[in-house]
């Protein structure tokens, strides 16, 4: 998949024949070679790999109590690492376990990216945000090079690595490699595994599709944190927080929170803005409750049109995504798919 070309357009550095032998984490020598190769001419090449200051803190984030507790538990591992590793001697028995990998998964708009920023802010570090488009290259061998460069910059700048939409890079490897693309996918996954093994910093992943992760990555991630749609209390808090204090309105937040139970924080944010513009256009002195209710209703309707169909009084959600053959076999408990 060619998603643009990065600034350094050198010729492909990895001959195809060299990559065919890279099939998984057990055969690590060729992968390490690829990592070393990738690192050789990894000059700073893209403006996209620039660590940024966190944009949000935990004060900005509204999450269900269970999600917040899971994040706090995971962060305690970093806070207490001196005690556990140095004072209690785990640095002898768990030499490579200081790294913290957290996977934030759940529906869109539930605050995963905000939390990544908040974690960086909490730990007093910058955030190096990596999107799939930043690392993927149509030139064979360039994707591992870009990955290696991202890890190098994160290490050098003591930043937190954040892979947004991480299923694109952590998805399952292909077992029946039929073409160069399959080989390249496996090579990238294997390089990623090696980089993860060696990396000692904090790394965050965010995804809507955790089920597509390769099990090898699942094992290397310390904690998986489930981001659910906000519950009633969260919806009330979100509405109250996202309605500006200066805004004249007659919005009954609890009523809306009760009525709209399948909306995300992002939906609420958009709806409030839409309601405000509607009131401004109509030259109303305040934003009416009905305007926000209509905006939320519109969002719900568009979601249904996009993903659902009516089934009795219940809404039915439909999601389709590409999966690997291995995944289908494992789900259907079949040795072969005829």
């Amino acid at each position: 998949m060619g998603i643009g070309r990065r600034i350094d357009q050198s010729t492909p550095t990895m001959p195809l024949s060299a990559q065919g032998s890279i099939v998984g984490p057990k055969n690590t020598e060729p992968v390490k070679q690829a990592v070393a190769e990738a690192g050789k001419d990894s000059k700073p090449q893209a403006a996209s790999f620039i660590p940024q200051s966190p944009k949000y803190s935990f004060a900005d984030v509204i999450l269900p109590a269970r999600t917040l507790e899971a994040i706090q538990n995971a962060l305690a591992i970093k806070d207490k690492s001196d005690q556990v590793f140095d004072a209690w001697g785990f640095s002898e028995t768990h030499k490579h376990s200081r790294k913290v990998g957290l996977n934030l998964y759940g529906p869109p708009g539930t605050g995963k990216t905000m939390v990544a920023h908040a974690i960086a802010e909490y730990l007093g570090k910058k955030l190096l945000v990596i999107n799939y488009a930043d690392i993927e290259s149509k030139f064979v061998g360039d994707t591992p090079k870009n990955l290696t460069e991202a890890f190098r910059i994160a290490t050098d700048s003591d930043s937190i690595l954040f892979f947004d939409e991480a299923d694109a890079i952590l998805s399952r490897r292909v077992t029946n490699m039929n073409n160069a693309t399959d080989t390249s996918v496996n090579q990238t996954r294997s390089v990623m595994l090696t980089l993860l093994n060696d990396y000692q910093g904090v790394i965050l992943f965010a995804t809507n599709y955790i089920s597509n992760y390769d099990p090898a990555f699942m094992r290397r991630i310390l904690a998986h944190i489930d981001f659910e749609l906000p519950d009633f209390d969260c919806r009330v808090r979100l509405l109250k927080k996202l309605i500006p204090t200066k805004l004249p309105h007659d919005i009954r937040t609890e009523e809306l929170a009760r009525e709209f139970d399948q909306i995300s924080g992002s939906d609420i944010s958009n709806a409030i803005l839409m309601a405000a513009f509607r009131a401004a256009r109509a030259e109303e002195p305040l934003v009416k409750h009905e305007y926000l209710a209509d905006a939320l209703q519109g969002i719900m309707k568009s979601k249904r049109a996009n993903n659902t169909w009516s089934d009795r009084s219940d809404s039915v959600k439909v999601e389709t995504r590409p999966v690997s053959e291995e995944y289908v076999k494992s789900q259907l408990k079949l040795e072969e798919l005829k």
């Binding site: 219940d314 039915v316 959600k317 389709t320 590409p322 289908v328 259907l332």
Partner: protein, 113 residues
């Protein structure tokens, strides 16, 4: 795994018991799911699995359909919520909070009786 032919040819369970109503409702729903999947990916469904999950006071029914389109496998997940009281006791007891429980074998047993 449930194949499409089994669902299409499934006869309704006789009787007005909760058990019969429940399985008939699932079969009816799955038939409509298959139609929906074909609208989305426009190819035959290879196999279907059915799961349940407890969410608050409701039970979520999840059907997963696997089909190959243009050489790539696709998973279509369709979920709906049903009221707990519409679910027979033995199935309700299997439902776990926030975790999918596979009830494909139970459904298959009903379909092949």
């Amino acid at each position: 795994m449930i194949i499409e032919a089994l669902l299409i040819g499934a006869a309704l369970l006789v009787g007005g018991s909760l058990v019969a109503k429940y399985w008939n409702s699932i079969v009816d729903w799955l038939k409509r799911c298959l139609q929906k999947v074909k609208q989305v990916i426009k190819t035959a469904v290879y196999g279907t699995k059915v799961f349940i999950k407890k969410i608050g006071e409701a039970i979520e029914e999840i059907s997963k359909h696997y089909a190959k389109e243009n050489g790539r496998w696709q998973e279509t997940v369709i979920t709906r919520k049903v009221n707990e009281r519409d679910v027979p006791e033995d199935i309700r007891a299997m439902a776990q909070k926030y975790r999918e429980t596979d009830i494909t074998d139970e459904l298959e047993a009903q379909l092949t009786r």
